[in-house]
Amino acid sequence: MERDFLNEIWLQFETEAMEHCTSSEDLLLDTNLNANEGTKIDSLFRAFHSLKGLFGTVGLSQTLELTHLIEDVIDKIRSREMLLNNQIRGVLLKCIDVLKNVISLSSQERKEIVDENLDAAKQLIVSIETTEFQVDINSKNIEQKEFNNQISVSDKSDRFATVDLESIDFLFNKAGLVSSQVNVLKNMAKLSLENAQSIENVEKLIDILQTEVTTLNQAVTDLRLVSVNSLIRRLKRDVFETATSLNKNIEFSVSGDNERADRTIINVLSSALMHLLRNSVDHGIEKNEERGQKGNGKIDLDFSKEKDGLLITVSDDGKGLDRKKIEEKLRQIELLSDDDIKKLSDLQVYDFIFQPGFSTKSDVSETSGRGVGLDVVKKNISSLGGSINVVSDAGIGTKFFLRIPNIVSTEDCLVLSDLKTIYAFPTRSIQWIRTVAQVDFQKHSTIRSIVHEKNIIPVHNASDLFGNLAENIDDLEEKIILINMNEKAFALSYKGKLSYSEHVFDEPDPLVSKLPFVSGTTVDQDRNIIFRANLEKLFEINERAA
């Protein structure tokens, strides 16, 4: 009882405190927020005030002090004794990071857990009111070191998904229906042994079940869809920090952020968009002094629905891509002759910025030079079956268009489940499956092989390639599987269970990416890991031998 009560308190505390943190983060990232917007400053004040109350309630006294200091600062902004500039925003945002960390750690341990970041945050806040502030903020290294072990709260929350109750109810009902029909089917199967007539009923029921299972699959696929909105806060934060570090005044706006995409897509999009936006802040928007009359730089991120996917536009109102600079680079790396270069349209020239190692800026800046280039963005987007292209007008700006399919297509697979780990082969790559008796093996050959389209193809043992077979499968007949794709073939001998099913594969986990024949991973409903066989690597075995 007492335990439940405390559980409830800490759970409520964490939820409520996190909400206040994210809402103040949103307010701070709102570029329109200034002292003239009384109601928004009031909301900001109230959020920190509530946080203070919450910390008091659960007894986080050291953390309470920080919120008290923050409250004082916001009170001064409210009464216009102080101006809310980007430096103060930055400090407040960092304080929120520290608070989030304290909240999640303390909720886990059920007592106040603080580290040196809390004191650092307090010092930063105090320094706002003194002249030291300028010095502190400018010596960026110290600041970075102080906050080096920021634990990213958002990463942790990836384990949870918010699902609306309606979807859960729907799934629950459907699942119930399916299992009750399975029971009916079982009974009918028993009866059908005695009564031939009921076989017909069984078939009818199988049809019904099939339909239900299809609906269930669709509903589950729908659950994987996440609103792109979940990306926005991080992106806004990133644009703000990049712009501040480069000393550029940038207004960043987002539209259409209620569109949804598959979870896998969202994860890939997150890093792709982050890089594209950094690129726009760094290279797209000119320095403040170069912009002059144009005023603050503007970057827009827009999501919109297309026929069977998502269109994402990242646009800036900067100086536009410089054809001459790209041409220079092309000559430098001697990719094309001068004549060829002249024949290219502007768009064709611009497209080279997605080539590996292609940067027109001679100095690799700290911001976009973090080892990720536009070529990696393009590769990531392509891995989702999407595309990226760019248009640009000198003096008007640059626009990147990303087209992403809304749903990752499921793959119909042949699954070999009696191996130590389960391997799946795309059905479209399977030419045939035959018993040993049905196969004409190549005569007079030292290794077992077959002839396919006039080529001699050795037969490889599945257990040699993918690990031992499970035990007790002596009664199963050995089968030969011919895999054929892009005019390459591979023959596999396998003794064990075979089945067909649909799967959505993720990129291989780093832990298994070293396994030679894995090109993707997924988990089935029984939580078994299934590897997608890497056909290219299999074909290579034969090529090497040849």
């Binding site: 505390f13 409520e16 109230r46 509530s50 203070k52 109350g53 008091g56 309630t57 986080l60």
Partner: protein, 139 residues
């Protein structure tokens, strides 16, 4: 003295956690037949239009309509006892002066320090004692 089954209390606080804690304290008293909750002053007033309550536990700092505004209107329209439950009272801010002028029937700190159950219990006991004394006066 009202019979238990007739007594009703309204908890007004924007924090769900605080409402949960207060509700727990009040519930444990077995003194009220019904516990209402509201997230801000506006909601509280709307609720009072339709329901008669005997006691209001009122927070001060709330969005939409704060406790000071709410208390003014409550005093004009309703005959009800009001205890201010606020961390502001403790700070001696300008609010606490206002609160006194508005003549609340009682002012108490928010229960705090849930990590130390004895402290939470102490605050809870203070509140319970205050509620009981308010209702004992009318006998």
């Amino acid at each position: 003295m009202n019979k238990i089954k007739d007594r009703k209390v309204l908890i007004v606080d924007d924090s769900k956690l605080m409402r949960f804690l207060l509700k727990n304290i009040v519930d444990g008293m077995k003194f009220f037949s019904k516990i209402y909750e509201a997230e801000n002053g506006r909601e509280a007033l709307d609720l009072l239009e339709l329901n008669k309550v005997d006691l209001i536990l009122l927070d001060i700092e709330m969005p939409v309509m704060d406790g000071v505004e709410a208390l003014k209107e409550i005093r004009l329209k309703h005959d009800v006892k009001v205890i201010i439950v606020s961390s502001l009272a403790q700070l001696g801010s300008s609010y606490s002066v206002k609160v006194k002028q508005l003549s609340a029937d009682g002012v108490i700190d928010k229960p705090s320090g849930a990590v130390d159950p004895s402290l939470a219990a102490k605050r809870g006991n203070e509140l319970i004692a205050m509620i009981k004394s308010l209702f004992d006066q009318i006998g």
